[in-house]
């Protein structure tokens, strides 16, 4: 069992290493601003590299039916299909639809969970962009009783 002090010490060492060596594998594609600025689900998927949209049973979106607090809505996207390039989580009626984009590698499952803010009741989408550019989606309606955006 590690003590908290040891953990902190180790993370300081790691941070130091990163600062000095600059680990090249940490360099990756620049932030995809176009995708995160897109207002609609379609535009966001296009900006993320998806070409043809199709509904698919092999992609699953998980989330609550009713979210009491729109500031913290647990959402998950997963698929068992091989050859997934990106997984996207989108909320249709947010000011910008795209919530998160995950770059899938061979070493991780194409299954992610996070928490999102939702301004109002809306459909939420999980989109799997395949290596050939196909975008497979699944959606679910989430009702929000208290919005998470704006004051």
């Amino acid at each position: 069992m590690q003590t908290r002090r040891e953990t902190l010490k180790q993370s300081a060492v790691v941070a130091g290493l990163l600062a000095t060596a600059g680990f090249p594998q940490f360099a990756h594609a620049a932030f995809n601003k176009a995708a995160f600025d897109a207002k609609s689900v379609q535009d966001a998927v296009k900006a993320a590299g998806g070409t043809s949209l199709a509904e698919s049973k092999d992609v699953t979106i998980t989330g609550p039916d009713i979210a009491e607090n729109g500031a913290v809505v647990p959402l998950g996207a997963s698929t068992a299909l091989p050859g997934v390039k990106h997984m996207l989580i989108l909320v249709e009626k947010n000011p910008a639809a795209l919530v998160a984009m995950f770059h899938v590698s061979d070493a991780v499952d194409a299954s992610f969970s996070t928490r999102a803010k939702m301004g109002q009741s809306s459909d939420v989408y999980a989109v799997a962009i395949m290596n050939d550019g196909k975008a497979l989606w699944a959606k679910k309606e989430v009702k929000v009783t208290l919005g998470g955006c704006g004051g």
């Binding site: 953990t7 993370s11 932030f31 500031a71 995950f102 996070t114 928490r115």
Partner: protein, 103 residues
């Protein structure tokens, strides 16, 4: 520097489930302060994860991810004793890395 992340990595079978709780304001850029001025967006843009030093995950986030974000993913082939490190970088350029051992 921001508060440390809480990282929990648990091996089950041939993979490890990693749960991360980051500490970040995640300001959406939609809210207004008392004077009616828009509060500028401040959010985590990039998240990367490494398994024993090898990058396994990269993600890009928008401002719609909740405050103090939670992330769950699973790393194939990770076993007890392996190191999982998670790094985030926000839109102001601040960054933080934390490491955990798979149990």
């Amino acid at each position: 520097m921001a508060d440390p992340m809480r990282i929990r990595a648990q091996a089950s079978g041939d993979k490890a489930t990693v749960r991360v709780l980051m500490s970040h304001e995640m300001e959406s850029g939609q809210r207004k302060d008392a004077a009616g001025n828009t509060v500028p967006a401040w959010f985590i843009q990039e998240v990367t994860a490494t398994h024993n030093g090898k990058q396994v995950l990269a993600a890009e986030w928008g401002p719609a991810v909740s405050k103090n974000p939670f992330l769950q993913f699973s790393v194939k082939g990770a076993k007890a004793g392996d190191k999982i490190a998670v790094t985030w970088k926000d839109n102001k350029g601040a960054t933080r890395t934390d490491e955990a051992t798979v149990s």
